[in-house]
Amino acid sequence: MRRLGLSFLVVVFAAAAGAPFLAPHAPDVKFSELLYAPPTLPHVVDDAGAWHAPFIYPWRLADRLEQRFEQNRSTRMPLVWLRGGRIAQSSDEARAPFLLVGADGSGRDVFARLLFGARTSLGLALVAALGATLLGGLVGGAAGYIGGIVDEALMRATDFVLVLPAIYVVLALRAVLPLVLSSGIVFVMLAAIFAVVGAPFVARGVRAIVRSERQLEYAVAARSLGAGHARLLVRHLLPAASGYVVVQLTVLVPAFIVAEATLSYVGLGFQDPIASWGAMLQEASNTRALTDFRWLLSPAAAIFLVVLGLNLVLQQSGVNPVTISSDEPLGRLRSDSHSL
């Protein structure tokens, strides 16, 4: 099972890394005659039962207003391999593009956007989760190690962030910001918000671990051997919390991916040309995606794959995911994205 989970993750991350090679098109190429076109699945057998190299049947627009497409079964479009640095394309990309997961409402290749969106979404989630653990680790470590008034102050601060109705603050913040935010700024801002919101959970757990570890023999011994405070904290106490921190990372990542979708609802997500899973799900949030264009829901499937992969890896990894606070971030963020 762990292997399976790991392979899921490897596939997703490889797909993200190899997006320019794997995607048949750039994520912002628009096929204006193929708005909401269904997937063009590769075939190897034609209607007459003859075998061919993989090919697709092109779509013909039957009714533009109803977004109805008919497959042109008389034309076979062979796939061409390794052309222009891309693994597979249709032989006539301009007229009959290879749309493995269909097209979205702007006529863009959903598959390409999934791959490129993985870079944005996973990148953001990873950076934010790292930031949260780093920030939380430092705060929690310092609070647990120094204790006393510092502990009290730091813990009150984390409590404050914990119970802050973050979404209200984010909404109010959006009103103050300029109309147009570059995608770089959006990335940094979202990562910062997620890191701050996620950090308290990490901090609570790390503090508890550091506090208890500090009393243990090896820490006492190290101190008596003359280890400095910083050294003791960084070399001895924080590593004790590392298992916990790893768990945190895996819980925060999926929560952040989903939260990004919700933030784009209030205008704080990535703007149009940038593909991200969250923004794609936001676009898919309409009734027709549920009935007529189900392929638009594919980002949810991608997130599922990542979450499942993380769960499978985690469950068998010996890292125990069951500490009280380990699930808090998930709860917090899930319910937070609810409050959006």
Binding site: S32, L35, L65, L179, G267, D272, S285
Partner: protein, 572 residues
């Protein structure tokens, strides 16, 4: 004095004949009386801001409340576009055309039982003209900035005196709902009229002359209108109007949720048209017989794109060298393929449009008005003529200071057609090297930006309430309140705006229809030459109702069905 009274047209039949552009469903002709009773549920996207239409800053929900609960002296029939007698039963016009003597309909009472007299008319004008009210209706009820004179020699007579000859005469009275003096006079006298009849006012304090009365208001959820038993209008067969006992207006901000309710049979209609993207599921439902899908043909209102032409906004901006130049706007118009626009934004359900008067406005559209061809190469040449050239070969044009040519395009968030349109404009302009940053914002924010003039460019559908340019002067005149690209001009900012002002002044003062047509073509030509607002396409208008709704007379402009709410009925 020339007798100038119009017959009380049983307009339903006329409406059907005077199609604006396509076939209409004929209203059912069931036997009289059988239509009486029943209720419908309609969905509206926004909340009202006040129950006082005169002090309302404008907004669809406020208009709807006024349409359903109040009445006007005359009504513009939103299908035939003729003026119909309403509270004023008939009128005569003086020979010089300046003075109208209106006879009010006798035995009309407000919903609270108080009789309706000319004093209420005088009061309503006074309220709209009062500076403290700050009513947006003031501009609409004035001619060349001068207000109308109102005299009430007796309770059944109102004399309206125009400050100068006004071609469409009483047509502008369609703007003013007549409010009850007995309820509101105290507020006007004490200077609190602007805040009277706000959303916190007990509904029993309201009274009106419309077909319905407000009977329940739950903030953010619903407004319930019940039949006004004292309503004065009768159906063609003499049966009392309105037919419906109740209209429940649910506030549903989300367009998808609105569609779902209609399809689930939990609402009977939306207050506005459906999106072209909703056509496919609605067509399936129509085939199954659960909804009626009504195709009204090409719309009257195309949405507009404009660059902020207020010189202040770019005063300290290096882009001032090119951004307000005519050439830029022509280049933009030439760079956007209208065909692509129609196909992408409206899924093919629309027609290309090149100016504020769409072809569906048969009366005022003119093929003589020139328009920009689709010519991206020509657009690039135009841009080069104002100093925008690709100086470093990156595909993006740079100005004389080597700064990339870019601007921010604001539009309304949550309106998918507008968001799609901005996407198309951005993509098309990218092809000629102009960088557009799209900024979808909430409606209120957009209003604020337009008001403050603090934006680069905007894409929005201003929407007119009448086809006659004389009633839409706020758009054409440089001082007008809908002269969006450069609001608040005290005197014309440019020579061409001055010329349009002059032509419009002549146009609205001419008694000769041919002369008015000719002058308006002139206006449109000047407009096309400078293109302060660029138009791309007018969508086809689709309505959907539940299959039980009948007796409606759909107009091409919103609210397509509720503009004539008193004849709507349900099949039992």
């Amino acid at each position: 004095m020339t007798r100038h009274s119009r017959s009380v047209a049983p307009f339903i039949a006329a409406v059907v004949a005077a199609a604006v552009g396509c076939s209409r469903p004929a209203p059912s002709t069931s036997t009289p009386g059988s239509r009486q009773g029943g209720e419908i549920v309609v969905t509206n996207r926004s909340n009202p801001s006040t129950f006082n239409r005169i002090s309302s800053p404008g907004g669809r929900a406020d208009d709807l409340v006024a349409l359903l609960t109040q009445a006007k002296l005359v009504r513009i029939n939103r299908v035939t576009w003729e003026v119909e007698p309403w509270l004023a039963e008939s009128w005569t016009r003086s020979d010089d055309g300046l003075r109208y003597t209106l006879k009010l309909r006798p035995n009309v009472t407000f919903s609270d039982g108080e009789p309706f007299t000319s004093a209420d008319v005088a009061f309503s004008f006074a309220a709209a003209y009062d500076d403290k009210t700050a009513s947006p209706l003031k501009e609409a009820l004035a001619v060349s900035g001068k207000v109308l004179g109102i005299a009430t020699p007796d309770p059944q007579t109102v004399i309206v005196t125009f400050p100068s000859f006004f071609a469409v005469g009483l047509r502008i009275l369609d703007n003013l709902p007549i409010l009850p003096r007995h309820k509101l006079e105290a507020a006007l006298k004490s200077g609190t009229f602007a805040n009277a009849w706000n959303l916190d006012t007990p509904l029993t304090e309201l009274a009106g002359l419309g077909p319905f009365v407000l009977s329940e208001f739950v903030r953010g959820q619903r407004i319930v209108f019940t039949r006004n038993p004292r309503y004065w209008r009768k159906d063609a067969d003499g049966s009392p109007l309105p037919h419906l006992d109740r209209i429940t207006m649910q506030i549903v901000p989300d367009q998808d949720a609105e569609l779902l309710r209609l399809r689930a049979g939990q609402s009977d209609m939306s207050t506005v048209e459906m999106r072209p993207s909703d056509y496919a599921p609605l067509k399936r439902d129509a085939a199954a017989g659960t909804v009626k899908l009504i195709d009204l043909g090409d719309g009257l209102d195309a949405e507009a794109f404009w660059i902020n032409l207020n010189p202040q906004h770019f005063a300290h901006d290096p882009r001032a060298a090119w951004i307000q130049k005519d050439e830029l706007r022509h280049a933009i118009s030439m760079a956007v393929s209208r065909e692509l626009f129609v196909n992408t934004v409206y899924f093919g359900a629309g027609v290309p449009v090149f100016g504020p008067i769409a072809p569906a406005n048969k009366k005022w559209y003119s093929a003589e008005v020139p328009h920009d061809p689709y010519d991206p190469a020509g657009a690039r040449r135009l841009l080069a003529s104002i100093g925008l050239v690709d100086r470093n070969g990156d595909g993006i044009l740079e100005d004389a200071h080597n700064q990339p040519a870019h601007f921010t395009l604001v539009t309304q968030k949550g309106r998918t057609d507008r968001e799609r349109a901005v996407e198309v404009i951005r993509d098309e302009l990218k092809k000629i090297g102009l960088v557009v940053d799209a900024a979808p914002v909430d409606f209120g924010k957009m209003r604020q930006l337009v008001g403050s003039g603090d934006y680069d460019a905007l894409y929005f559908g201003p929407g007119a309430t009448d086809i006659d340019p004389a009633v839409n002067q706020d758009y054409w005149l440089s001082s007008g309140g809908a002269h969006f690209w450069d609001l608040g001009q005290t005197k014309p900012a440019t020579d061409w705006e001055r010329r349009i002002d002059e032509l419009m002044a002549r146009q609205v003062a001419s008694p000769d229809q041919n002369e008015r047509q000719r002058l308006f073509v002139e206006v449109q030509k000047i407009f096309a030459e400078h293109e302060p607002a660029i138009y791309f396409a007018a969508p086809r208008v689709f309505l959907a109702t539940s299959s039980r709704v009948t007796g409606y007379t759909p107009s091409i402009i919103p609210p397509q069905l509720l503009w004539a709410s008193d004849t709507i009925a349900v099949v039992k």
